[in-house]
């Protein structure tokens, strides 16, 4: 065995554990879901598996609950992703400019991300509670009327987004801070010597150099936002009037409460399509900015 073959084989050996788990737990379920999307499969009616072609997708187009769930998911993503990027960026810039206590602040900001979503939701349920929650307690003491944070259709989704921001902004800001710290000082110093002001430094030097990392943060958080499930499921159970029930929650209920696996698989593929469209749009937008 020559050197190159050995080297190639070594690479495969290192990759093998991940590749195997990828095939078993990701690729195979994706293929099964792809097949299921074209089938009718009800768990309670044994041997009911039938090939139905695109019937599930046709039903999906007419399903008002799916449309409502998709709208709720898009609302969440549109509110969540820009707020997250802006707040995480602001935190990262703030931390980057600190000369003392930065590590402690970074740890504190990252701390909420260490909680599980269940703990976070229980905590925020209490914050938001109408009668005996923290926010309304403070509002009452300030002389204001209590606010129905989670049961008002207009406020429920923004309230979920605020909780999700508290939970995730720390993680995104740490990534952006690391990227900020990787920008060579000489670029900033050279631009400053050429007379660039703070705004020009940010828009012309910092932001363009952060673009790859920013793209990564935007894409991963967009995918995460479209997969929104426990945030709403635990905080509002999808209410009021299903206004916060996202596509993933609807898919879960279809598969595991109504036992309609084929239809649930078609929902998952529809969601994948939506995510691909959004990510493609972001990709082209970033490329256009780069050009």
């Amino acid at each position: 065995m020559n050197y190159h073959t050995r080297r190639r084989l070594t690479g495969f050996v290192f990759l093998a554990p991940y590749f195997l788990s990828f095939c078993c737990f990701l690729l195979l379920p994706i293929l099964v879901a792809a097949g299921l999307a074209f089938m009718r499969f009800d768990l309670t009616a044994k041997n009911s598996i039938q090939l139905v072609g695109v019937q599930n997708f046709r039903e999906l187009m007419k399903d008002s609950y799916f449309a409502q769930a998709l709208l709720a998911t898009c609302r969440y993503a549109i509110l969540m992703v820009p707020s997250l990027i802006i707040s995480a960026f602001a935190i990262a810039l703030g931390l980057n400019s600190m000369s003392r206590g930065r590590d402690l602040m970074r740890a504190l900001i990252y701390l909420p991300g260490m909680f599980t979503i269940a703990v976070t939701a229980i905590l925020w349920q209490w914050f938001y509670n109408l009668e005996f929650g923290l926010f309304n307690f403070l509002l009452k003491h300030l002389g204001s009327a209590p606010v129905s944070w989670l049961s008002d259709k207009r406020l429920a989704m923004p309230s979920i987004v605020v909780m999700a921001l508290w939970w995730t902004a720390g993680g995104a800001s740490v990534v952006l801070l690391t990227a900020l710290q990787q920008i060579p000082r000489m670029y900033i110093e050279a631009a400053a010597l050429d007379g660039a002001n703070a705004g020009q430094l940010f828009w012309r030097i910092t932001l363009p150099l952060l673009r790859p990392v920013l793209f990564f943060v935007v894409v991963t958080n967009t995918i995460g936002a479209f997969q929104m499930f426990p945030q709403a499921s635990l905080l509002t159970q999808g209410g009021p009037l299903l206004s916060t029930r996202g596509v993933v929650q609807y898919m879960y209920e279809t598969a595991f409460n109504n036992y309609r696996l084929g239809y649930a698989a078609s929902i998952s593929w529809a969601l994948t399509l939506v995510i691909v469209v959004f990510i493609s749009a972001q990709f082209f937008a970033f490329r256009r900015i780069a050009d």
């Binding site: 309670t44 509670n129 109504n258």
Partner: protein, 431 residues
């Protein structure tokens, strides 16, 4: 060898022989195989501890059987039972609500269990209310043994009732029994509010259950005589109109905020709630709260409430030895259901409900008075989808975004669509 040495040697020999014998016996005992039964349920609260104690006692009394219990939160429980049961990996014995039994039966997970009611050691069928037993029967065969009945009833905070002067002649809290008394009590307890601490006489808990509890009182129902969805019948509309008026007309209940009524009741901010008897376990932990259980007041034309049962099911396809062991355990639980009642349940067997020990359980025995008037949810496989439609209709009315008839019309159309789809699907299956 002198006598002393001989006695010593004899003693040593006896000791060695004794040890060997004991070891041989213990080995023989250890080698005797136990029939292992896996028992799944959703009793994750204090009721689970009571069940665990009963299992320990059964295992002690039956050394040839080992029951091991797995508790899973109800929200996940049915998924796990269904998926594991379909390919034969499920537990040998499991608990299913009577309302969920139809789906489990159609999936072929539940074995027929007629023989448990037969023979001298069989559970006497006559000890059950026929209506309760009917809920577990498919095609004339028993599919499960009802362990308990859990009707919805009313929990009242006796201190709050007393504080507004709603008392009997002996000074005890007077529980409302009809619409007039109920509304008067709900209104009266609101007077306990302060500027920073709102109190309510009544609050909704699980909206769908609250609504369903009132349906029998208004002669409402879910399905018509042909088994088609009939959610918008006059009885249902009347029940929903009353529920909606509590918020939108009379302003007697708190704003709809994530169904926190039970939390408010526990915190003594709410005087009365409609809930299942199983919530008693939660109250038993509150040492400073004084409460009383009562039937749901007669708001409609006659008494009535919603109920369900925990049923003990044997998985289909298990071997005879395991089946016999599982049946022995079911008989044990059924015969000792007075212990289960203490966990906050009403036993399904009449003879157990007739015991003095049960009559002394204030909440359970008060809730049990509703058994002649109770109604179970409809026996359909699309119950979850139908329930969601009902839940949405109730929510719309409570929030004041739709009139009861309008909300129930929409619910009925959607529920029928789900039922039609399910009928078409099951007709296409080979089962």
């Amino acid at each position: 060898m002198n006598a002393r040495s001989s006695i010593g040697l004899l003693g040593l020999t006896c000791l060695v022989l004794g040890l060997v014998r004991a070891d041989v016996f213990s080995l023989a005992t250890a080698k005797k195989p136990k029939v292992e039964i896996s028992f799944w349920n959703g009793f994750t609260g204090p009721d689970g501890r009571v069940m665990l104690e009963m299992i320990r006692d059964f295992n002690k009394e039956n050394p040839d059987v080992e029951i091991s219990m797995q508790r899973i939160a109800w929200a996940l429980y049915y998924n796990k039972v269904m998926v594991s049961g379909l390919d034969g990996r499920g537990p040998e014995l499991f608990v299913v609500h009577a309302s969920a039994l139809t789906r489990m039966h159609r999936a072929g997970i539940v074995a027929d269990d007629d023989d448990i009611f037969q023979g001298p050691s069989g559970i006497p069928q006559s000890d059950f209310d026929p209506y309760v037993l009917e809920q577990t029967m498919f095609g004339g065969h028993h599919s499960a043994v009802p362990l308990d009945i859990h009707p919805q009833g009313m929990f009242c905070n006796s201190d709050m009732l007393k504080n507004v002067g709603i008392v009997n002649s002996d000074g005890t809290a007077r529980v409302p029994v009809n619409r007039t008394e109920f509304i008067a009590a709900a209104r009266g307890m609101m007077k306990l509010s302060t500027s920073l601490d709102a109190k309510f006489g009544f609050a909704l808990t699980a909206w769908q259950n609250n609504f369903m509890s009132l349906l029998p009182q208004f002669d409402g129902h879910y399905l018509d005589a042909n088994g088609r969805a009939d959610l918008n019948n006059p009885g249902n509309v009347a029940a929903l109109t009353f529920l909606g008026s509590l918020r939108n007309g009379m302003h007697l209940i708190p704003p709809p905020d994530n169904q926190m009524g039970w939390v408010g009741y526990r915190q003594q901010k709410v005087g009365m709630v409609f809930e299942g008897v199983y919530m008693l376990g939660d109250l038993l932990r509150l040492k400073d709260m004084h409460y009383v259980g009562a039937p749901i007041p007669t708001i409609g034309n006659h008494p009535g409430t919603l109920a369900d049962s925990h049923c003990l099911c044997i998985r289909s396809g298990i071997d005879l030895k395991k089946r016999e062991a599982a049946q022995r355990f079911i008989r044990f639980l059924s015969a000792n259901s007075i212990r289960w009642a203490a966990a906050g349940q009403v036993p399904a067997r009449r003879s157990v409900r007739a015991l003095d020990a049960f009559k002394k359980m204030q909440v359970q025995s008060a809730f049990a008075k509703q058994i002649p008037f109770m109604k179970y949810p409809p026996r359909i496989t699309t119950l979850f989808e139908l329930g969601l439609e009902v839940q949405l209709a109730v929510e719309k009315v409570i929030r004041g975004t739709a009139q009861p008839k309008e909300a129930l019309d929409i619910a009925n159309t959607n529920a029928q669509r789900a039922m039609d789809r399910d009928a078409e699907q099951s007709a296409g299956s080979k089962r």
